[in-house]
Symmetry: C2
Subunit: 581 residues, 2 copies
């Protein structure tokens, strides 16, 4: 079976499988030159155009008002369909004819740029420097660390042809750059004076996975940053691992308004070739599944060993003629990916579409003249528009990212829905009545109807709007955070394990932290358990360990057993388990 057939097979059960939905399965069918008819049929099937259609039928009937087709299903009823509609109609992402590879449209790419600025500023303070290493890695180089290659072998894409010729030796498209970078580290690091060495790159990586692809969440190509550092001591390396984890958590919590749990991976789940892996774990309430949000690894001395990255011990007392001992360096690597954008969308989006947190919204405020009808005089309209323009300038001067919607021929309802679908956090409306009262009407995207609306004095717009945006940001985080907290259940006994998962929670359990025991738990928590009622839409996958939370819920009582009754070992830590992406 070819890889693509495998992918297609597997994606048949996928919760958001674009290949099937778009009919662009790569299988055995010859690629046809697209014909206009077929294209139109496909587009109609996709339904999701947020712009007014301009097909011939409509063109004939010019008076018809543009219709906006919003999100046509509920998040709580069909998350997969909802997610696909939201990212397409919200103009975050587009599918391509390469399954598992997606277009990051300006809507999502801008969020990535905000993340870049935020993170660059923090790592520059840590004296990390940005750089760029090649996309291609030789097979010999990739194989130099055994655990590492074993972890990645199944998902490496290989280039075997250049132009019309076969390459003598095939080249891996980087799945990550440890092996690409550490030959350089070996050469560059000649003395303890060259330490620490701290490099970071923002790039694209490819992991030719055959699990279900899902936009942002699991794709064959994704964007990320990967930091790689070398230190003289384990202690120094360990300190940095946690500093980076804090920055990652800050991106999620302070920028994306998404709560995460900090912790350490169990041996089963750590990065191939790592000494240990720290992680932040997110949660998707709609399905009750955990999701790995970002990881920061201490690689220990494994790669230093294989790549011969050593320095002479600067602290050794040496006698005349005595050589200094060689020390292997301590290395870290840490990565943060575009998956984060998917987590953000899944966390905040609602039945109307996207909800973007203000700090990462390209458009924070949409400002709209309203109340202009066929009976409004041109003078009144001109005056109103000039006032709107003045409001815009005030907001821009206050560093608010604002866009005015002056579009003609669209009803206010259309425009409201359009901006709501795109997730703009705050709408300001300004009509003749508002003008007379010296106020603007506000409408918060994150609040339910009835609680969303308010007014701000025109004279206070430059201070009150930024304040309101920060309130929205904080409220979005609080809501998500409360939800996650309420779904993280302390479970002490196995009998409660699966039912608690089935009720869309993750569980924190006493555990031995052993690998075989984890495998057993995964098996025993999968599928429909006897005597349990299972939500038909709940994934039948088993639960895996998500992390050992840094903040342990309570001290383990002496003699507490592992939650797995088949295990019998003593519990070592509280470990968070869950079904997961």
């Amino acid at each position: 079976m070819s890889t693509d057939e495998v992918a297609d097979k597997m994606s048949a059960t996928n919760i958001a499988d674009e290949a099937n939905k778009q009919g662009t399965v790569e299988g055995g069918k010859p690629h046809k030159k697209p014909e206009k008819k077929e294209k139109e049929r496909k587009d109609q099937k996709m339904a999701a155009k947020s712009k007014p259609a301009s097909n011939p039928q409509q063109a004939k009937n010019k008076a018809s008002e543009p219709q906006l087709i919003g999100i046509t299903c509920k998040k709580s009823e069909d998350l997969a369909e909802w997610y696909q509609q939201v990212i397409l109609k919200g103009e975050m992402l587009e599918f391509t004819d390469v399954p598992g590879c997606y277009v990051y449209l300006p809507g999502s790419y801008k969020i990535w740029e905000f993340i870049q600025v935020f993170f660059n500023e923090r790592i520059q303070k840590m004296k990390v420097k940005n750089c760029y290493f090649p996309l291609f890695i030789t097979e010999a180089n990739l194989q130099r660390e055994k655990d590492h290659i074993e972890g990645f072998a199944a998902e490496v894409a290989w280039v075997t042809e250049g132009g019309k010729n076969k390459l003598e030796k095939k080249l891996a498209v980087r799945p990550t750059s440890e092996t690409a970078m550490y030959s350089y580290y070996s050469k560059k690091i000649r003395s303890h004076r060259d330490l620490p060495l701290k490099l970071n790159q923002w790039n694209n990586v490819v992991r030719w996975e055959f699990k279900h692809p899902m936009p942002f969440i699991r794709s064959r190509e994704f964007l990320w940053q990967e930091g790689h550092t070398a230190h003289l001591t384990e202690q120094e390396a360990g300190k940095e691992v946690l500093e980076i984890l804090d920055h990652y958590a800050a991106i999620y919590e302070d920028l994306l308004a998404v709560p995460v749990v900090k912790g350490k991976k169990t041996a089963n789940e750590q990065f191939p070739g790592a000494h240990y892996t720290t992680t932040i774990e997110g949660f998707i309430p709609a399905v009750g599944r955990g999701i790995q949000a970002a990881t920061s690894h201490c690689l220990g001395q494994h790669f230093a060993n294989m790549f011969d990255i050593t320095v002479e011990d600067p602290n050794q007392e040496v006698k005349e003629g005595e050589a200094r001992n060689k020390l292997k360096v301590w290395q870290n690597s840490w990565g943060f990916t575009t998956r984060s954008i998917g987590v953000m969308i899944l966390t905040h989006g609602d039945d109307k579409g996207l909800v973007i947190p203000p700090r990462v919204a390209d458009v924070q405020v949409v400002l709209m003249p309203v109340g202009v009808t066929a009976k409004t005089t041109l003078d009144t309209k001109e005056k109103l528009y000039n006032e709107v323009d003045e409001l815009r300038r005030s907001l821009e001067d206050a560093n608010v990212r604002v866009e005015c919607d002056y579009r003609e021929g669209y009803s206010p309802g259309y425009k409201f829905n359009d901006w709501e679908m795109k997730g703009v956090p705050l709408r300001l409306e300004f009509g003749p009545k508002d003008s007379a009262n010296g106020v603007v009407t506000t409408s918060r995207r994150d609040q339910a109807e009835g609680k969303a609306r308010g007014t701000i004095q025109v004279s206070e717009i430059a201070t009150e709007v930024p304040k309101l945006l920060e309130t929205i940001q904080a409220d979005m985080f609080k809501k998500a955070s409360d939800e996650y907290a309420s779904r993280r259940k302390l479970v002490r006994e196995w009998k409660d394990f699966v039912p608690t998962l089935n009720a869309k929670n993750v569980v924190v359990v006493p555990h031995c932290t052993g690998g075989p025991c984890e495998d057993e738990i995964k098996k025993d928590s999968s599928g429909q358990q006897e005597g349990q009622e299972v939500d038909a839409r709940a994934p039948s996958m088993g639960a895996k360990s998500l992390c050992i939370p840094a903040a342990q819920p309570e001290e383990l009582a002496q003699g507490t057993k592992c939650v797995n009754p088949k295990c019998g070992q003593e519990a070592k830590m509280w470990v968070m388990f869950g079904r997961s992406y």
Copy 2:
């Protein structure tokens, strides 16, 4: 012959072939686990460590002062060797075991980031939005524009395996993204209201070239931005093409202090699939060769045709029931690459190493305490260091990017050479005498010995240093610009054509702009011409048309013939020809 063998063969004559120099040729030899001995031998061969070596011999003799091995050859005598030493010792770039693929170290990557900020700001004002399209393009998609695929077929790298499986259909690693993006354009652009559509992406592309690779200048993978826009009218598209060209020229001239000539490509040299190509052309005085600096293309309606990107004519007067005409959109694409960094290095570097223009220097000023000897009291030293630190703060407050060099155990000479090799534009020295006189001693990197040094009052440092940096920037540009102008020769007759090229100039000649005539000129200007004395180091390549300069030197007299005597056609334009990279 395999592609790698071809590459190796060709690179044997290469002016800066890393594969040969490093002995990392990819040929048939099995990859060995690197042994320390072999590694050390190799590193010694490379010689070029700018850091003090810490091999066992030296460790024994701890008192020995670190020796800096500077650039060991002259730019004017062996440009290839000089270039390689300068980029390695200046820590701009590193070679890898994949021929033609390089590491962009922080020294060069930082310049790329300055370019990104500068260009992003300008295109954002033009309402261009950043995004990201996939690395992989299906073969079917790549082939949809005939001229385009013909232009790139020979240099596409193909992925044929994923994990351990063969892919059903191989995937191209993008050489450029026209075909990857325009399926989306076809879907997105439904009405004239969707125009203009202006997207840009910063990414990596691969062109598996078999010409000589040369770091920055011609590599198999490079970084760039590629802008792709669609417009309703040719006029609007054409206006943007030139706006972008102006921005590209500004990156070179205002940031990199490198002069360029704006113009249009002849039909022979335009982008595959373009309607027309505008270009900025640089010049490398050391070899007298032109170099394409960046291009901005109007693609016309070629891709709109193949990808069916049409809108209904909004300006057509339609009668009841009449359908509107379909208009094909007008498209542009424009790209700017990391090649620019190589041009900058080749332009400004000198026998001591890199010279970085202040506006793109990560470290603009290195500040150094001097005059501290074994006889200096600790009090005096501490006072001096505190004063240096205060100077640093003043400079940082004035937004000067400054680094202090407090390294112990290195002579001032070592430090001076080290920073000079890295191209830091301005050195400030501050010793006890300077302190007593209330001045800092300045030393400009861009000026020859004897003219480089001056002083600035400590009290004026926050205004005078930024001013001096701007003077350095302006002087670097003027020097390069004067040089280029003096080497751009107006040539009216064929007899002067080759001798003028051989004297390391480019020529501006009356030309018919015909393709076959250009081919003839290339042939007739290659190799050693009879009766001509040729510089042994001059490339024996023929001259090609570089551009039709936008600023024509003078009006062509009625009846002027093409410079090629075999052609006989009337000259249409002054065309710049040259040997080129």
